[in-house]
Symmetry: D2
Subunit: 363 residues, 4 copies
């Protein structure tokens, strides 16, 4: 249903980048859940542009709940958050209505919405719409944490540079929770920053791979058909601008394996059951098996670049060239991880609510 996602916990998204505000509605959360503004701000800060490796558009967004929260707790009715749009400079965008940026949504927006599309800042396609997703997802992340379910995402790869694998999930997730640039190996982090600056200096952009872990999810969550855990997660994750691939466990790496190598042997210490490997990424038959859920998202390089590119003037139906000036990100992967965390929290919370009832998410 277009801008609404989820069954028992659902989110409805609205807004345009340079309109009055962007926002979202979270429905289904029980009454009485603590809404911790500091916690949410910390997550929002991870999505925010910082330093020289990001756009110079600075959104000093204040968290503004216009419904569903009173005295720091959920009231049980829908929670709406809005972020007003301020530091906008819309003059840059008009030309993209005629000369669509390659691999950007300019062209399809023109086809789908015609002249009434709000092209400024990408309008409804803007990455800015992920801010309310992060804010509402953070509420659910804190709910999940109270249940012992923790989510963390690092940049596994940026251009040709690879981060180390997850080690201790709990330590690594705690580390990522403090890091604005989410890379586990600090030397590697430095190289990735340099790579982003190099791309920026060339008027270019870079992509990469995000890797996420969800620890503590009980076994039995998800369904075998259609609403598989993989299906629900990927459905929502592909909304994150730039994500073009999602894989679970070994993912595309399964292609090279024999079944005997790929299968995760069950084992027990007499008290609990676990698997000796976790190639399945914590999911069998669409349902969580109690191991850490592992998935990776491919993030394409941001399409808006300063370098001259070939495109078409739609008005003249002529080939032409274009340089997308303005304040664009040479990479969004480090900011996107906050969105991936938030979306994962929404999907996991919804799957838990579908299994155990929404009241489970209460106290």
């Amino acid at each position: 249903m277009r801008n609404t996602f989820g069954n028992n916990i659902s989110i409805t998204l609205f807004g345009e980048s340079h309109g009055y505000a962007v926002g979202a509605v979270l429905d289904g959360l029980p009454a009485g859940v603590k809404i911790n503004a500091d916690y949410i701000e910390k997550k929002l800060d991870k999505r925010r542009a910082h330093g020289t490796i990001s756009t110079q558009r600075r959104e000093a967004d204040t968290l503004n709940f216009i419904s569903g929260v009173r005295d720091g707790r959920s009231t049980g009715s829908p929670i709406t958050v809005i972020f007003e749009n301020r530091d906008t400079s819309s003059g840059d965008y008009e030309k993209f209505k005629d000369m669509p940026r390659p691999s950007h949504a300019d062209y399809v927006a023109q086809i789908k919405y015609g002249g009434s599309h709000d092209e400024r800042g990408g309008g409804h396609f803007s990455g800015r719409l992920t801010a309310p997703i992060v804010a509402l997802g953070a509420i659910l992340q804190s709910v999940l944490e109270a249940k012992g379910i923790h989510i963390g995402t690092h940049i596994k790869k940026l251009h040709s540079i690879c981060d180390r694998d997850f080690g201790s999930y709990s330590d690594d997730i705690a580390y990522l929770d403090e890091a604005l640039f989410p890379v586990l190996d600090t030397e590697c982090a430095e190289k990735m920053r340099e790579e982003i600056l190099t791309a920026a200096n060339m008027g270019d952009s870079v992509g990469g791979i995000l890797e996420s872990a969800v620890v503590g999810l009980p076994a039995g969550i998800g369904d075998p058909w259609f609403d598989t855990l993989e299906g629900m997660l990927s459905h929502a994750l592909f909304s994150v601008p730039g994500i073009k691939g999602v894989e679970f466990g070994l993912g595309f790496g399964f292609a090279d394996k024999y079944g005997s190598e790929a299968n995760d042997a069950f084992a027990t210490d007499g008290e609990k059951i676990y698997t000796k490997t976790n190639n399945s990424g914590g999911i069998n038959g669409g349902i969580s098996n109690g191991m850490t859920v592992i998935f990776r998202c491919a993030v394409r390089p941001t399409p808006s670049i300063r370098k001259e590119q070939r495109t078409v003037s739609l008005a003249k139906m002529e080939n032409t060239t274009l340089s997308a000036g303005g304040r664009h990100d040479p990479a969004i992967i480090h900011r996107a991880r906050a969105v991936v965390d938030a979306i994962s929290a929404i999907v996991i919370a919804d799957a838990l609510a579908s299994a155990y009832g929404t009241s489970y998410l209460g106290g």
Copy 2:
């Protein structure tokens, strides 16, 4: 909503592998659509086990529409297809209730459904449930073909063997439509078959990568948030047993590219607009851009293998070993492609119906 998927065109799936029947309901198709049994049978045949590279369970399934079809045309009410279960030998499965097969759904089924789960043949988790998906998807495939939209899938990779890339989409899709083993390069096809037989002889299994193309889809289909074309396709595709990754266009290959390399330049011949490359896989901002939609699915090796594996006796809470006898497939990737085609047809038809109304599918 669990076993139902889709908004304007929807499918509801039911059945267990060794129960009375498996089946599905297709809702939303307008009245008067021609239902060509031969066309459907041909698609079903692609999903069927053939020769020595597949299970010896042979399902001589007859196409049985129990509602929604009269005199070879849709009546406008829900179309239900069932396949009765016949060549079943259920004795094999009881032990998996106690000793779950590694990476199979046995364990999560036990957690989620407890003792009442129908474990025979995998019950509701069985790949057999894809037969009604293929039958109903075929109806939509024929509808789409009448609109000039064609779908085809080949095995891009099987273990270490790679097929050639798509060349002429129309020729290749026509070729695949005739091929029971969907590989474009015949020499390569032979090697893949050998690889499957080798695995089978070892009591093992292999996985691979499927690559699909949807040609002829008009620009403007899909939505920017949540119901992106990528999100809807992946949501449904992850239901196909064994699929653990879905990527569009360059997918995970985007990670290595600069924006200037990855972006698809727009161009025109003065009459129509196209892109010079198609790294985006025909989708920008969640919406089709008029180019061929390209995606790949990672298919894990089938988890049921003859080789001895370590597992746990749930009753005794003891470590033990297991060999999954029975009639298992050493590879399902060649059969899965029929399911991928069918699911793609369902999702694409639904997206078209959401944009243009279901009557658009009517003819």
Copy 3:
């Protein structure tokens, strides 16, 4: 979503009156729920045509679960029931494609589905599709009864004859559960039967009002906006052929009252809270308040009558007359009550599942 209804417990309906079968799929029921065939048969028998006051089409329907039930218990996957169509005589119906019966669905079916509509026996519009609703609703009724929630419906009014009001709900519901003709006052029941026979002899038909009670529903079920208990019940109830009005508590009788007369005073015996009257029909603000839920459905006289009526030949675009021969019911209200009970059970179970999780409906 057309033929699917419900959020956490959902039903998908399919079939045509003279096609191969009618059926429905129930999704969301946990594994391990006892499926009592005798219990279901008893409910089906209430919907069946009996004696001289009903159609002579006799459906000796056998309960046929083709998925989701094994060894008398739910498996946790979708439960599908089908009823094959046998005692059909389809020749009667062809003329209604040209000469639509007044107030019947013949005309709108022609507009909506055109020539491919299956007109035989009313096709997908047939009251026969309520058989699978009753069968699946009965499963949920037995689940609700195990929770102390009981549903009963009587004919409050048939033409000019009124039944007495509900007295002791538990006694009356128990009585109705044994009665094929659901009227509390036996003298009144006799008069109603006579009225039906009189109408039948005139080649005419009669309608009336059904009154239903749901006792034992806990307070707090339903939502304030859109998915109110009234909204969900009425949404589903208006699917029952012939229902043209639904009211809760005093319903249309509220129009004559002052607030001070209409309001239900709260009272307590020190242990629990109740209301001294129940004009609200057990629902405030869309949510159950713990009192008996009371609603009434207006049932129109069956439109198919033997008496000559004026209609139009669609082919000739000429006024003409028509006598609907065939085996029609002079009244369906006594049979419809089984459908109202079943639909109420489905909606109530779904509302409970949305509040407490589907697992609540388990053991």
Copy 4:
């Protein structure tokens, strides 16, 4: 899905009466639809409290679209309207948390949401949430009018006073569109106002019956099962605070009729087909038949009255009495009609979009 309603055109509602704002999101409207603020204001004014017959809470609400509208046209992305809450006096409400008002939502809110419920002004249950419904419904009403579909509602009955029946639908709907007090017979209107004042002076309230007409709806809209036109309309209408019954055509009046009296004979003038009577209220088999859609809503007297009433102190579990001071409406039926019109427009637009695609609403 709780606070979201609709399939292809959907509305999501949020807000609390004395929180920061109430609002709603409209999704699915195509780009380029003219948004006429004056037109919307006129509809909002019909919902507003005027004169002595309504509450003294005066909401000088300014229409505030925070997304989806640019330069007076829809952008194609979700349209969000909010109304900030100003003239609030929240002190009145705290006592209702302990002493629930009879027949009000106070008690069920306490059960469902516990101590975190925002009780001020009724919180999320407040009739104030109908303001955004009216604003967004008005957009759709203007879209429908451009298609020749007009909606109008009058007070058919208020306490014991009855308005005349609809005469010429087009004249009457035009008249109602200008009237703040929606009664067709002016003498009757005067009596109704007096009746409201009488009730107000007694510290009491009155209810009544609203009657609505939808003219110009094409035949073929709606579905036979679940998403019947009656089912969709009633589902949404029961959200309007105070509505406790919905009937179509003769509705409960069908109970007294024979089929031969109730059936609507088809007739033709050689060019088009119509029915000689319209007892069916324009709907057969759940689908519009091309005649005027007619329905009536029973509106209960407002439960908040000044008169002393018996209730319970939840804290002490003791019987007590209560007088609901504050600024309550002695009747809301005349204001509710604007909400009924708006909700009807939403449901009709959604049903049209489901049949013809959302692009049909585009112009």
